[in-house]
Symmetry: C7
Subunit: 96 residues, 7 copies
């Protein structure tokens, strides 16, 4: 996707979370204000601190992340919706 | 649990607090806005200060912690609910 | 009490303030939004400043302190209510 | 355009986003609060940090950028509308 | 008074301001939101800056000060009301 | 004009913006919340940063500037209205 | 006046602004939210920055200043009303 985020922002493709119980049955997520999941498509170069040093991000393209439902802004690029959020709004990275 | 929190965030499994009087009788907690307890499942690497140094967290996996009822965000991972909160919202660690 | 506060927080046991007039008569405190008193049970290690240095607290266990009525959060640990507050919300220490 | 932005501000010419599906059909953007696109006409020299150092911007004239619909202020210069926004409100740069 | 303020706080005894006209006639202060006067009973050790240095206060016990009516918190100690305020809320010192 | 702004403030004389189309026809500006134009009459010495260094302003007397309609405060000096605004509220400088 | 402001505060005696047109006719100021004028009676020693250095004020006793109508707090000292404001709320100094 031809989009390069600035500073400490990430471009994320939202994905439906898989919800499985212990028995392996998939339960659809109830509609609510729950955080969501997505795959990181692109990351910014990082944010500069007060000394002017660039602090690199700790998330990388390909990571699957969790974020709050209302975090970031949805952007349409070439007809496709992506989410642009700041790394500080990323709750956690899913480890496979 | 395959989830890695970022920066100064923790992944916590909520647990029902045990309320015992001196005589050992368990009293159920009244429903209210009381802080809650949980066990730390995973911790982030820490937050960077203005100089770019990483300040490690003082909570570690396995710690039982107290936090405010509305602190953090609840996330469902593989059908299980966990809480992701910032260490600054942790009130105290329970010592066994 | 098996509870260890983090950073710049204190664990406090609220105590009824003794109100005495010059003549020694105890006057019950009128219900209101008056600050309250308590005894410090445990203190955190202190807060880190922007340089990463740990700034120790100036209150210690055993101190009797004054704080605003709505400062801090009340926590129940083993059936007993304690208050967890930040040192910055402590108004003063009572000197005996 | 005879306009020089100060500090970390950019002068941007809004442009209608092209929305194409995979099949190449152009879909007009529904009216809403979606972020918008534009071309950077001019950039400020950057912002000074607390040490007085000038931190140059990472966007340059000619870049096509994405920004929130309500970011920045619209200014009319010689009868033409341009947008003046801070670089921190730029979500991403479109890469051709 | 057995009370020791923390950090940049002061313990103050409110006093009725004397309002005299040029002719020496005392005019009672109209009830309103006017700042008030008081005598400093005790001062904290000062506030630490970001480097961890202690910045001593510029007000000392015995000073008569002016402060906003709603500044600080009123505390009852041994049946007597005192005001605990931050030095930054002190408007001025009266010079005799 | 006998007025010297402090710190990072500017004294500005508002001017009606000239609105010309490509064909050179002047269009009166519709009343709204559009930013406005003005000429800088005087500039402050600059703002001190956290190290105490004076950061000089990048706008100088004689510059024609753009600013938001509600930026700054209007002051009457010797019967004439001028605007006093902070440089950070200046959107851009018009280049002739 | 026996009043010494703290830190970056000033004690100011409000004065009615003289409004003269080019022809020298005095126009009374319409009642509104216009900034006001006053004479500086006393200035504080300055504010300390994050390094603990004292940054002296750039206004001195005797200066005639402009400030917003709602800036500062009005104090009555010996029956006379003065204004105590922070230097940052001073818009400009009138030069005679």
């Amino acid at each position: 996707m031809p989009i390069r985020p600035l500073h400490d922002r990430l471009v994320v493709k939202r994905s439906e979370p898989e919800l499985k119980t212990a028995s392996g049955i998939v339960i659809p997520d109830s509609a609510g204000e729950k955080p969501e999941q997505g795959e990181v498509l692109a990351v910014g170069p990082g944010k500069r601190n007060d000394r002017g040093d660039l602090i690199a991000l700790s998330v990388k393209p390909g990571d699957r992340i969790l974020f709050g439902k209302y975090a970031g802004q949805t952007v349409k690029v070439e007809g496709e919706e992506v989410l642009v959020i700041r790394e500080d709004d990323v709750l956690a990275v899913l480890v496979s």
